[in-house]
């Protein structure tokens, strides 16, 4: 069965802290994504990776960076967390064969105080 695992379901951090969100997929997928989901704003793409060490900015990359050192793992980094980064973060992966099917993890709810 397809599995995308996000390391933390709930995190509470303080303003200015560095935050790491980890995501692992077991489907040998080429593509991995980080979205954030906010009420009234929907799902917005932060970063996309189409191969190891390759990445593209999404619609809202400011304040975030990513790392993909291994095919199965995609990390989202908040260098200095701010309160406006309080959100639900969703990792997803896809095969890269243009199926349009993204497999999402369960999400990480981050609260920045």
């Amino acid at each position: 069965d397809v599995k995308v695992t996000q390391s933390s379901r709930y995190l509470v951090k303080r303003t200015g802290e560095k935050v790491f969100l980890e995501c692992v997929q077991d489907m040998d997928h080429e593509n991995m994504f980080w979205y954030r989901q906010d009420p009234g704003l929907g799902l917005r793409l932060i970063y996309f990776s189409y191969d190891v060490k390759m990445k593209e900015k999404g619609d809202i990359p400011e304040g975030y960076s990513v790392s993909r050192e291994k095919k199965e793992r995609f990390s989202l980094i908040l260098e200095s967390a701010s309160t406006n980064q309080t959100s639900m973060y969703l990792c997803a992966s896809s095969s890269g064969r243009d199926t349009g099917e993204l497999f999402f993890g369960e999400g990480s709810r981050l609260t920045v105080l």
Partner: protein
């Protein structure tokens, strides 16, 4: 205008009725559209996709694409309380920057559907 817009909602229908969910898009070159369902507290999952003008049926679900009018619809027949969820319309972004980039989907804000017993 956002690439994919869902302006209707929330939507409430009685059990057994037809629920109609709509989505408009701005890029006339868009070729493929996807409907994701997201239960409360859960992650989105793909339920339908459509590439061609017309209707595509899968069980109680029908996706409709009208390229001339630039809208996509999802009809749910014989709605059940278990269909209560937020439905997200999605499409690939304008252009295609990288291999697999067509899966870098742009999502609408979603329409929350409640089916009342």
């Amino acid at each position: 205008q956002k690439e994919v817009e869902q302006n209707s909602g929330p939507l409430s229908v009685p059990e057994g009725a037809i629920a109609s969910l709509n989505c408009t898009y701005s890029d006339r070159g868009s070729q493929s559209f996807f409907w994701y369902r997201q239960y409360s507290g859960k992650s989105p999952e793909l339920i339908m996709f459509i590439y061609s003008n017309g209707d595509k049926e899968d069980g109680r679900f029908t996706a409709q694409l009208n390229k001339a009018s630039q809208y996509v619809s999802l009809l749910i027949r014989d709605s059940q309380p278990s269909d209560s969820a937020t439905y997200l319309c999605a499409a690939p972004p304008r252009g295609r920057s990288t291999q697999g980039g067509s899966e870098k989907l742009v999502f609408g804000k979603g329409t929350k559907l409640t089916v009342n017993p």
